[in-house]
Every structure is written in C-alpha cells, then in structure tokens.
C-alpha cells in the first residue's frame, strides 16, 4: 500500500474482484471504474481512480466478495493493522 495516499480511499484486490460492477454503480462520487485490463480469472476488475473517495463504505457493503474491497476511512491510522 502506498503510505502517502490520502485517507479515505478504497482498495480493490484486482485478482479477487469478479467484475460485477455493483461497487461502481454504488459509488456516489463515481471514483470507481471497471478496468480495461483482465485479471488472472478473466474478469475486468474494478479500480479506484485514485482520488475523490469520501469513505462512504458503499463499495465495501455492496461487494459480494468478502475480501475484494477494503475501505480505509478518514480516521484510519496505518499502525492499527500490523
């Protein structure tokens, strides 16, 4: 993870994502897109464009795949996860 990134942000595991697009539809800021690239399973995965996330958590709660989406919220302190 890039430690210089601004919180909040959404991180999507490109390999776990199944490309269903539910997170993209749920994002109020339109900062998630389906990639042109394919992952190892042949899915066009979802990506965070890199800025604009407000940490609403929609993408996390709408994603059916338990470990595809992680949202680092505004108050997140990196040391918390070791």
């Amino acid at each position: 993870m890039n430690e210089n990134r601004k919180y909040p942000f959404s991180e999507i595991d490109p390999d776990i994502c199944k490309g269903c697009g539910l997170c993209v539809a749920s994002c109020p800021k339109g900062v998630l897109v389906i990639s042109d690239k394919l992952n190892s399973k042949g899915f066009h995965f979802s990506e965070y464009v890199g800025e604009g996330c407000i940490g609403c958590g929609n993408c996390f709660y709408t994603c059916p795949e338990p470990s595809a989406v992680t949202v680092y919220l505004r108050n997140y302190v990196p040391e918390e996860v070791s």
Partner: protein, 479 residues
C-alpha cells in the same frame, strides 16, 4: 463498539477457506454479483462486531449457500434440503446460549422445507432465519421456485409462470406474520445502497435478538441471482426494484424486539424413576439377577420373525426385559409389515454388556424363525457360527446354511399340546434361554407376573409352562 476506521473482510469469515476444495481458497464460489455474498458479509460483520463468532452456529441446507461452511468462522452444519429449521431447533434447545442461524434459499425454505419453517416459527425457537429470496432455484440451474413471479421465465416455465397452472408467488413473510410466536419479521432488499443498509440494520437486529434469547426472527432478503436470471448484476438490481418489490413489499411486518424478554423454557428433567413409573417397570426393577459367566452366548443380536399374531413382538419384549433384569443393556426394535395383524412381522433384540448402538440386527448371531418365509428371509443374514432356531411344526424345508448351529423345534406343536397356540412365543423364549444359557428358566418364571401384568393366573401358569417346555426341549434334544 469502537468506531470503525477500516472496512475490511470481517472476522466472521474464515481467513483462508481451507474447507473449500480446489485451488481458489481466497474467494467464494458465488457468481459475480450474487446477493448471497452481500448477505454473508453483513452477517459476518455483525458476528464480529457483537463478538459472538465463537458462539454462533450457521446451518445451511441445500441451495447455492450449501457451502456456507466454507466461509463462516462459526460452528457450521450442512443439513438436508429444507430441514435447517428443524436442525436449528435441536441445536438451539441443546445449546441455549449459542446463536443459531438458519440460512435458506427460497426453493429450500418455501418448497421442500415449507412445513419445517412454519413449525419452528410457531414454536418461537430462539434463532434467526435468513431467507434469501431470489425468485428461482439458483443451484440447480434456474428452475421455477415458489417465489418465482407471475410471467417470469425460468427453465421450467419457458412461457413464464402461469398462475393458472403454477399457482402464485408465495409471500412467506406474510405467512410467518400470521403466527403468534415470532418476534421480528421483516423483508428487505439488496437492490441499491439504501436498501443494503436497511438489510444491514435488520441483520444486526435479528442477530442481537438471538443473542439476547428473544426468540424467532425472520429476515427475508430480496436478492440478485444474475446467473439464474440471465442478466448482468446491476440490471439484476433494477429487476428486483421493478418486478419483485411490487409482489414482495419491503416492510417490517412485526418488531417486538424491544418488549420481548429473554425466553425461559422449562429445563427438561430425566428422572429414571419417573420413566420406570410411566412405563410401569417398577415391579421389574429390584430382582438383581446375576449374569451367567459361563453362558454359551456372551451377547445376542437376535431376529425373531413370523406371522403377525404369532407373538413375535411379545417374545422380543420378554427377552429384552429379562435381559434387563440380568443387568444387560438391551434394545428391542419392532418391524411390522403394512398390516399389524396377519402379515409378517419381525423384531430385533440386542442383549449385551457393552453399550447398544444401532438397535436393528443387520448381522444377527441368532435367528428365531416362526414360519417358512421368515426362515428363507433371515437365515441369509445370520453370521457364521450363529444359532438358527426354527419352528419345525410349520416349516418343512431344511435350512440351507451349513455353517450355523441349527435347532429345529416344534414350537407351535408344543404350544398346542399345552392347550393354547398363543403361548408359542414363550416356548421360543424358553428355547432361547436354553441355547444361550444366559437366562435361568426359573427366574423367567419368577418374572412372569411383571412380564404379563394384569393377566389372569391361568394365563400366567400357561406361559410359565411354555417357557419350561421350550427350555427342556432344547436340553433334551440338542445337548
């Protein structure tokens, strides 16, 4: 609960899905956009947040969520189609402190399991039922479910569900809400973010109800099955909104969560003396007979078979009771034909010092055949070296087995000579005692009053004679 700083895979899930076969142990088997995954996540999150992962048991029957046990870091049971509420009942009753979740699809819950869910709801079992309504059988390839909408095309309704032939989509919440016991009955949906959040709230309320032992909570969730519906995931959400909600309105049908106290059920007590009293065994209970250490048989698994009316069942009961008096563990398992009288009947009796497991004698070491069909049927399953006692009055064929001890005894004839054919069962009991050497005929006679409680003295005497005659016949002819 501290405010979240990160939203990540909840700890209610297993870290690596080690129970899942194949290489992909880091992802679920669900199709892209499947509502099951969303609901799983909401449940796993609540279990973590409430710190009850370890005391939760998730029960999944058949349907796409049959493999829920790959994912939840809880106790898991995978059970037969439709039966989750029944299994959940036993789990919840046996472990009142656990949080029991029955996770079911619409095919499972509303079709094959239709009655199970009603009975559990009606008893107000302390459990949560998550009912995933995706209007189709997902796992089996998209057949019509009880909740399939009017006009909906499925593989079994290629022209659309016709209510004239297929009936109407069943509204399960509305049915559950007719019952008195449930505490919380709600229908939510996964078709957009506000509704996913409402579903999250319902999941949390239902799970906390179970944690607080408030009884039966039922959460129906309208859920996407993009594969079964043959559409992409986002249009599937639209489809719920346009088509499902008009038939399945999103409503809190009942919410008594606040006002309901924790359930208190009477604790079942198992009092052996009371059981004996109910079964009228008191008179049989204080004889304290000694086992015969030199008996020819250490343990017996016997099939007794004949016509209904030949006293097959009473012979078995008598043997089991006498065995119990000698301090053996015993079992008696009757097996009737379609008719209780006149047809064929057989029973299995086990008498042994160690614990009795299955009570059916599939490999008996003794067969008592009272008529010819029984001989033909059961001599086959007798173990080598076992004893074959047969009623030579009614059976004029020879047994085919040569690797067993054979005892032809004119059982019916002996009873007839005593003046009553009906005592043939006790003749066989006497023969049993002689062959096995496990019981003393005198002691059986002593027990007669309790075996034939309420019978006249005359009947009692006759039965005593029958035991003695059966015993003596064996001693005189086969020693």
């Amino acid at each position: 609960m501290a405010q979240k700083t990160i939203l990540r895979k909840p700890r209610g899930f297993i870290d690596v899905y080690k129970h899942k076969p194949g290489a992909e142990k880091d992802r679920t088997h669900y199709c892209p956009g499947c509502g099951h995954g969303i609901l799983h996540k909401l449940i796993a999150e609540a279990l973590e947040d409430f710190d009850i992962v370890d005391k939760t048991i998730v029960i999944s029957p058949v349907g796409c969520s049959v493999f829920a046990y790959y994912y939840f870091h809880t106790g898991n049971l995978q059970v037969p189609h439709g039966r989750a509420p029944a299994v959940a009942t036993s789990v919840s009753r046996a472990n009142p402190d656990s949080v029991v979740i029955s996770y079911q699809g619409d095919g499972d819950l509303a079709a094959i399991g239709g009655n199970n869910i009603l009975q559990a709801a009606n008893r107000g079992e302390n459990m949560v039922v998550f009912f995933v309504n995706n209007a189709i059988y997902g796992m089996t390839g998209g057949q019509m479910a009880p909740t399939t909408l009017e006009g909906q095309i499925t593989t079994t309704t290629p022209y659309g569900r016709n209510v004239k032939t297929d009936g109407y989509p069943i509204q399960v919440c509305e049915i559950i809400n007719q019952l008195t016991a449930p505490v919380y009955v709600v229908r939510t949906s996964l078709h957009d973010m506000p509704n996913i959040r409402k579903t999250r709230a319902a999941v949390r309320k239902a799970i906390s109800n179970a944690r607080d032992k408030k009884g039966f909570s039922f959460v129906e969730v309208l859920s996407m099955c993009p594969s079964g519906w043959k559409m992409d995931s986002v249009p599937a959400q639209e489809w719920i909104k346009e088509n499902m909600i008009p038939r399945f309105p999103l409503e809190t049908f009942r919410d008594d969560s606040e006002d309901t106290p924790a359930i208190e059920r009477p604790v079942p007590v198992m009092d052996p003396d009371e059981v004996k009293r109910i079964l009228e065994y008191s008179a049989l209970s204080d004889s304290n007979l000694e086992k015969n250490p030199d008996a020819a048989f250490e343990k017996v698994a016997v099939r007794i078979a004949g016509f209904g009316g030949q006293g097959i069942m009473s012979a078995g009961i008598a043997l089991a009771n006498v065995g119990m008096e000698y301090g053996y563990n015993v079992s008696w398992l009757p097996s009737y034909g379609p008719e209780m009288r006149g047809g064929t009947a057989n029973c299995s009796v086990k008498i042994q010092s160690d614990t009795v497991g299955a009570s059916e004698c599939t490999e008996p070491n003794m067969v008592i055949a009272m008529n010819q069909p029984s001989l033909e049927k059961f001599e086959k399953i007798l173990v080598p070296g076992g004893a074959l006692i047969y009623n030579s009055t009614l059976i004029d064929i020879e047994p085919t087995r040569t690797d067993v001890e054979v005892y032809p005894i004119p059982i019916t004839g002996i009873a007839d000579e005593l003046g009553n054919t009906r005592v043939q069962s006790m003749v066989s009991v006497g023969a049993f005692a002689a062959v096995t050497e496990m019981f003393d005929p005198g002691e059986i006679e002593n027990l007669m009053t309790s075996l034939f409680k309420g019978k006249s003295d005359k009947v009692m005497k006759l039965n005593e004679k029958a035991v003695r005659k059966g015993y003596e016949y064996v001693k005189e002819n086969f020693s």
